[in-house]
């Protein structure tokens, strides 16, 4: 302090000439600092934004690239070609999709805008790793330089099984690898044929009911129905860590609270239940009872941990689930939310990520579609390794939920899945959005094997009735296909 005062005094006593020197040095320091800041800003800007800005539709530099580069090929994880560019007999460059509409939303398209992997990997597909001499040769032969190829995580077999079974129903299927978050299959119906998107564009976009371009798996917001009981049960477990085993409920087929009545599906009377059997039998009355007993703030925290109402940890174009419990909720809202009805919505991807976290001991993995970017000689340009999105629930909570979900598939609503080859843990759901139960969305989210999970499947079939009848058999097909049964 004293030193500073002495310095100031020394400055005040100094000659005008000395004072000018000081000011000149100060000016130099100020501008050097400003420029230094600019250098750092520029360095960071150029090293981080190149890919993002390249993909911007206002950036005409894509045209430059199109003149010189032949769009790269997209492969499935088994090496099958999912999309490639070829020059047809008329010399016109076209994009071919050998599996037609099967991979519509997952692989996407690259004309009239972009979607899916065609969009996520656009920068790489349109940049070439050709060496100088190769480029010279290509120019001499009048062919374009090949763009980088994309090795996707998609599995042709699982994708086809899911696509076949979903058939004419609207809905979505998403299959991920539990330990990594790699997406093995991603189906959304209704779909489109990416190879003829340009010709079909008018028809697709002018169709009033048409939502073919919507990727229901990642963006479709549905009422989660009974699958949301996973979250309700988790909140109950967190709030009653020592006493949850003592929970008992006598189901009479419905529950009344403040003049509101909520019934179990088909009015079934489930009788005497504990928490596990309430979950396994998907008893609405019992879960409404649980929901009403919960502390709302803690419940909201539980949902927040699971990425409700905030951006999902993924680079995919996705919607997050919405759910609200708090001071503004009426008791009726709470009753509805307990069983995943009311204003609560969820995307298949989001539910899949929650299921995956349960299967993975509480650690959520970021779902992703691209394994590697390779050049035409197979050299890896960039590889994408699994990324954690953090422990969203504790290992103990994951074990608890696995126990509940195993019960569902052993003696509960999904007991048809009992077989000798693998065990399944899952939760069915029937999301009612109309009065007719046959108009409900069928949900099923599950992972297998229950004791050492490998894959995680989430299915929604629109207006198909109950999850038990329609979604569970599809999951069985996918598991059978995966485990080679």
């Amino acid at each position: 302090m004293k030193k500073i005062r002495n310095l100031i005094q020394k400055y005040i006593d100094s000659s005008p000439r000395y004072k000018s020197m000081v000011l000149i040095n100060v000016t130099v320091a100020i501008f050097c600092a400003l420029f230094f800041g600019m250098f750092i800003y520029l360095g960071i800007f150029v090293s981080t934004s190149t890919m993002e800005l390249y993909d911007n539709s206002y950036n005409n530099r894509q045209e430059l690239q199109e003149q010189n580069v032949l769009r790269g090929t997209i492969y499935a994880s088994g090496g099958e070609i999912l999309a490639e560019s070829r020059i047809d007999e008329n010399g016109v460059e076209r994009r071919y999709y050998p599996y037609g509409s099967v991979f519509a939303h997952a692989v996407g398209y690259s004309v009239n805008g972009r979607m899916g992997i065609e969009d996520y990997a656009n920068y790489y597909l349109m940049h070439s790793g050709a060496t100088l001499s190769e480029r010279v040769d290509n120019d001499l032969e009048n062919v374009k330089d090949p763009g980088y190829n994309v090795m996707s995580t998609l599995d042709v077999n699982l994708q086809q099984v899911a696509d076949d079974y979903l058939g004419l129903y609207n809905g979505a299927v998403i299959v991920t690898e539990v330990k990594t978050g790699r997406i093995l299959a991603l189906v959304s119906h209704p779909n489109f044929n990416p190879g003829s998107i340009k010709e079909d564009w008018e028809a697709i976009t002018s169709d009033p009911k048409g939502s073919q371009l919507l990727n229901r798996a990642t963006q479709g917001l549905y009422p989660p129905g009974s699958t949301f009981k996973i979250i309700t049960a988790l909140a109950f477990y967190k709030q009653n860590p020592d006493t949850w085993e003592d929970y008992r409920f006598e189901c009479t087929g419905n529950i009344m609270h403040d003049d509101y009545r909520i019934s179990c599906i088909y009015g079934t009377v489930h009788g005497d239940l504990d928490l596990i059997s309430s979950f396994a039998k998907s008893c609405n009355s019992s879960f409404v009872n649980i929901g009403l007993s919960l502390d709302r703030d803690m419940w909201a925290d539980t949902m927040d941990d699971l990425y409700f109402n905030r951006r999902l940890p993924t680079d995919l174009l996705a919607n997050y689930g919405r759910a609200y419990v708090g001071a503004a909720s009426t008791d009726y809202d709470i009753m509805q939310t307990s069983i995943g009805q009311g204003k609560t919505t969820l995307t298949p991807l989001h539910l899949n990520m929650i299921t995956q976290a349960i299967a993975n001991g509480g650690e959520m993995m970021k779902p992703y579609l691209i394994d590697e970017i390779v050049d035409e000689n197979g050299n890896v340009i960039r590889s994408f390794s699994p990324e954690s999105a953090g422990m969203v629930i504790s290992p103990d909570e994951a074990e608890f939920l696995t126990e509940l979900m195993t019960a569902v598939c052993e003696y509960g609503t999904a007991r048809v899945l009992v077989n000798d080859n693998y065990t399944v843990a899952g939760k069915t759901g029937t999301a009612e959005f109309a009065n007719d139960i046959n108009e409900s969305h069928a949900w099923f989210t599950a992972f297998a094997p229950a004791e050492d999970p490998e894959i995680c499947v989430t299915i929604i079939i629109e207006k198909a009735g109950t999850g038990v009848e329609y979604a569970v058999p599809l999951a069985k097909r996918i598991f059978d296909a995966y485990f080679g049964v």
Partner: protein, 452 residues
């Protein structure tokens, strides 16, 4: 064969140009900071060589890519011009500062090179302007050395400056702003020249009178300049005048409270301008949220960002990018064009050279004995580097875009002329003070020898 060669030239010259520029910048740093006079002299000579190599590489590249041999003529012209500039100046004024001279040659050479790449016809005009500017400016050090009346003309500076700006303000609008004035096909941007008049006015006034009354008068007159510029939508120049005024005020009074006053006043003025003038609001909106207004107010800045990001560290290579996607690229956003085709490494080197010029001027200002001249050199340095900061910072979205030229490099006659004048004034004052000090030394040393 042709194609093969073309590819190798494009690819190789990209790295060679960046490397040559790096080498030049390294030499410039040595020249600026080394105390060893011999080393500085050697580095200066080396710099001149490296400079010509750099020009050669750029033009060779452009000739190969475009297949137009016109570029070779342009190269011949630039080489001759730069060569003469260095030799003539050093012959006529042997005391002229080589370090500043070299950097000046590099920047104007680069400017000619980039403008040639952007447009052939504009390049031709730019060449003539540069040549004429140089010829005019060659006399400046001579005039400064002979005459002492510059500090007495303060009301002439203020009068001429304000009248010139007012004429423009009442003139026709070009691109929504009253910035230029056209007579018989020649377009002037008076604010570029008025900048220098303003500087001399403030320096002459504050050097002479230091009391509060005169400081107040100087503030009012400077305010007039700034307000006329804001009204004519020349925000960049308004800011440059404003900053230069306060820095010179502090330089002549050594009172740092004015810095606080300036900052506070500047902040209030900015808020007021934001609320009163729509064209200020548009700039701020485009700065804060460019991606939302990408097809409208922020089109220019986002196109500039595309260009910079597409270049990467080594650039796309000369004539491999799309600089013309950026509106007014040759004037306001030439730095972005440079980033796109020459790469970030090269662009950072150019900025370092600009900083070196500024540092050199500050270094000179330190040793100049005459207070008036010291203030003038200091003011020129601040104006120069602040203008560079405004245009570069604006183009990279570091600060809101104001639309001023990058001195020496941007296309535009007034800008080139005024920058040449400023640099030669600095040279002239430096030469004069060196001679003055030498004569002082001689006076001082003579009695000493007698004592011994």
């Amino acid at each position: 064969m042709q194609i093969t060669l073309k590819y190798y030239v494009i690819e190789l010259s990209k790295y060679l140009i960046a490397f040559t520029m790096l080498l030049y910048t390294g030499l410039a740093l040595v020249c600026n900071f080394s105390k060893n006079k011999k080393a500085v002299s050697i580095c200066c000579s080396l710099q001149s060589g490296v400079l010509l190599v750099l020009m050669f590489l750029c033009f060779l590249d452009m000739t190969f890519v475009s297949g137009k041999e016109e570029y070779l003529y342009l190269f011949a012209f630039i080489t001759l011009f730069l060569f003469f500039m260095i030799t003539i100046v050093t012959i006529i004024y042997d005391k002229a500062d080589r370090v500043l001279l070299n950097n000046m040659c590099l920047l104007s050479g680069l400017g000619l090179c980039i403008v040639s790449r952007l447009s052939f016809t504009r390049a031709f005009r730019q060449y003539i302007i540069t040549l004429v500017s140089f010829a005019i400016c060659l006399a400046i050090p001579f005039v400064i050395e002979r005459f002492r009346f510059f500090r007495k003309l303060l009301w002439v500076y203020a009068g001429v400056g304000i009248v010139a700006l007012l004429i423009v303000l009442t003139g026709t609008k070009v691109n929504g702003a009253h910035i230029t004035y056209t007579i018989k096909g020649f377009t002037f941007q008076p604010s570029e020249i008025v900048k220098i008049l303003f500087l001399f006015f403030i320096a002459a006034l504050l050097y002479k009178y230091n009391d509060l009354k005169w400081i107040f008068i100087s503030a009012v007159i400077s305010g007039c300049f700034v307000i006329i510029l804001v009204l004519s939508k020349d925000l960049g120049s308004a800011l440059i005048f404003f900053v230069a005024y306060f820095m010179i005020l502090i330089m002549s009074t050594h009172n740092y409270w004015y810095l606080l006053t300036g900052l506070a006043g500047g902040a209030i003025a900015c808020v007021a301008a934001y609320n009163i003038f729509d064209h200020v609001k548009v700039r701020v909106v485009a700065f804060l949220d460019p991606w939302t207004y990408i097809d409208d107010q922020a089109y220019q800045i986002t196109q500039s960002l595309f260009a910079i990001s597409s270049g990467g560290w080594f650039g796309a290579g000369l004539m491999q990018g799309r600089p013309w996607d950026i509106p007014y690229v040759d004037q306001d956003l030439i730095f972005s064009a440079m980033c796109e085709e020459f790469g970030l490494l090269f662009a950072l080197c150019v900025l370092t050279i600009c900083l070196c010029c500024f540092y050199r001027m500050m270094f000179m200002s330190r040793i100049i004995g005459d207070k008036f001249y010291q203030i003038v050199v200091y003011g020129i340095g601040v104006m120069y580097i602040f203008q560079v900061f405004l245009t570069v910072g604006g183009g990279i979205k570091f600060i809101p875009l104001t639309g001023v030229t990058l001195p020496f490099i941007s296309y535009g006659g007034s800008s080139v002329l005024s920058t040449f004048i400023m640099f030669f004034i600095v040279q002239g004052i430096y030469i004069k003070s060196l001679k003055y000090e030498k004569s002082l030394d001689e006076k001082n040393t003579k009695p000493d020898t007698k004592v011994h």
